[in-house]
């Protein structure tokens, strides 16, 4: 009886997890499916017929292409700035004991726990009161704010397990601080820094709410979709959505594979070293 119950429990969990995965992936399946739709009117909500025409030229709507280019420019700049600023802060937090640590941690934590609408509204209040015209620059300024916190958290996670003796060894061998940082520290924390940059890029490209408050007349990719949502979203948006999903899965899967292969190699090396002893 008990065994039967355990058997049922085991498979029940598998079933529930499977249903969960279907739920998570269903919208993506719909997006991909409707990228092959051939809608009769402006609205791409019901299935009309199969076509690959939108996959052949997904970027042929000028406004959509411009919005995408703007989004990518902002995301590149925002992720570079936020990653540099965030890495510096995490170096200070992990490596140094200093007065004002608590305040620093609070300033990192607060933007993460503020709803986007409050952040967007307060930025617009700032720009309105100071008479700053909103546009490309204000979007960039705003995006860096919400990216910094995620960069600090990501790089910190990598720094915590860092073996400081490697840096001491470099210094003992005559390298100065800058050389040590560039040749030892940076390569070792690079996976964390890279992850922070990728995460920032993703957050920036996807941001709608804060951008909506700070964009002026500049249109980013999410703002283009928001505008299009009222009059009918072009099928090309589905094509781009599907592409984003494939790229995201690809990048993350490569990351996973690389780290699995590395771990396996390290284990093999360690075993061989143990045998040699």
């Amino acid at each position: 009886m008990r065994r039967a119950r355990r058997f049922a429990g085991h498979h029940l969990l598998t079933l529930v997890a499977l249903l969960g995965f279907i739920y998570i992936l269903a919208p993506i399946a719909v997006i991909a499916l409707f990228s092959f739709n051939d809608p009769a009117g402006k609205y791409n909500y019901t299935w009309q017929g199969f076509t690959t025409q939108y996959w052949q030229n997904p970027f042929d709507i000028p406004a959509l292409r411009d919005a995408l280019i703007t989004s990518i420019q902002i995301a590149l700049l925002a992720s570079i700035i936020a990653t540099v600023l965030g890495t510096l802060i995490s170096l200070a937090l992990v490596r140094h004991a200093f007065r004002g640590r608590g305040t620093t941690n609070l300033l990192i934590f607060l933007p993460m726990s503020t709803p986007e609408i409050v952040m967007g509204a307060s930025l617009l209040a700032l720009f309105l009161n100071l008479g700053v015209a909103t546009g490309f620059a204000t979007i960039l300024l705003a995006h860096v704010v919400f990216c910094i916190a995620f960069c600090v958290v990501t790089v910190k996670a990598r720094l915590v397990g860092f073996d400081r003796r490697l840096e001491e060894a470099a210094m003992d061998l005559g390298a100065n601080e800058v050389r040590t940082f560039l040749r030892v520290t940076l390569p070792l924390i690079l996976p964390g820094v890279g992850a922070a940059a990728l995460l920032s890029f993703a957050l920036s490209v996807d941001d709608f709410v804060i951008t909506n408050f700070t964009h002026g007349t500049v249109v980013t990719f999410p703002l283009f979709i928001w505008g299009a949502a009222r009059v009918g979203v072009p099928v090309q948006v589905n094509v781009i959505g599907t592409l984003i999903f494939l790229v995201a899965v690809g990048i993350m899967a490569i990351g996973v594979l690389v780290s699995t292969v590395r771990a396996r190699r390290d284990r093999a090396l360690a075993e061989r070293a143990a045998e040699a002893h």
Partner: protein
Amino acid sequence: MGYLRRHPRAVPYLLIAPGLAWLAVLFVVPLYYLVTTSLQSGDIYEGFRLTWQWSNYGDMLSQYRPQLVRSALYAAIATVAALLIAYPIVYFIARRGGQWKSLLLVLLVAPFFVTYLIRTIAWQTILADEGLVVGVLRDVHILAPDGRLLATSFAVVAGITYNYFPFMALPLYVALEQLDGRLLEASSDLYANSVRSFLRVTLPISLPGVFAGTLTTFIPAMGDFVNAQLLGTPKQYMIGNVIQSKFLVIVDYPLASAGAVILMVLILVGVAIYARALGAERLTG
């Protein structure tokens, strides 16, 4: 370089200075301006001036109480729903994933890299009157023949639940990943059945993840307006819809700012009460 060697204490401050300056000027100062704007009066033609117009808060609270209550309610239901959906999936990945663990996690998170608005529009398609889901539910008489899913509270809550899912799943995963399988074996050896093992071992160990996940889901959910706009009707509008339309459409900046301040304060108070109730200090160390 020489300066730094002579003053090693300056190093951390130089490291944090640029980042904190950015956050001070573009996060803290804007909050100050949000509060002062909320106390202004005037209009877009004459301009707005600080007149300590406290009545903006009274107006906001009395006129938009339904939207405020609805925001808290929708966010709470969506948070609980996300927890109930995420827990078994994440438990499955953490405990049964084996060598596929990382790839399953990738599959779970990747959908959320697809632009938020595209995902929400996909839910429009799924829940639409002509869609498959409504058709099946009507056929089995769960929905009345003219019953709808789109443009209802259900659609809005479902959209919020879905869109903030990773904020629930990732902290839960981190907590459940740390669960040592031997603890469950020990509990089973001591004749606990699986329900008891879950309640006495798994659940307590995962509580920090539950705490972090519910907070990181509830906070953005409470301020959301995209789901109510795209999946609901004005009857489902939340406080976020009021703030964004007052700011960007009606251009009543003081009232909109008062709304944003109220939302922020409600969240801070709510989080403080919740943290105390769960004993956050014990949980997060």
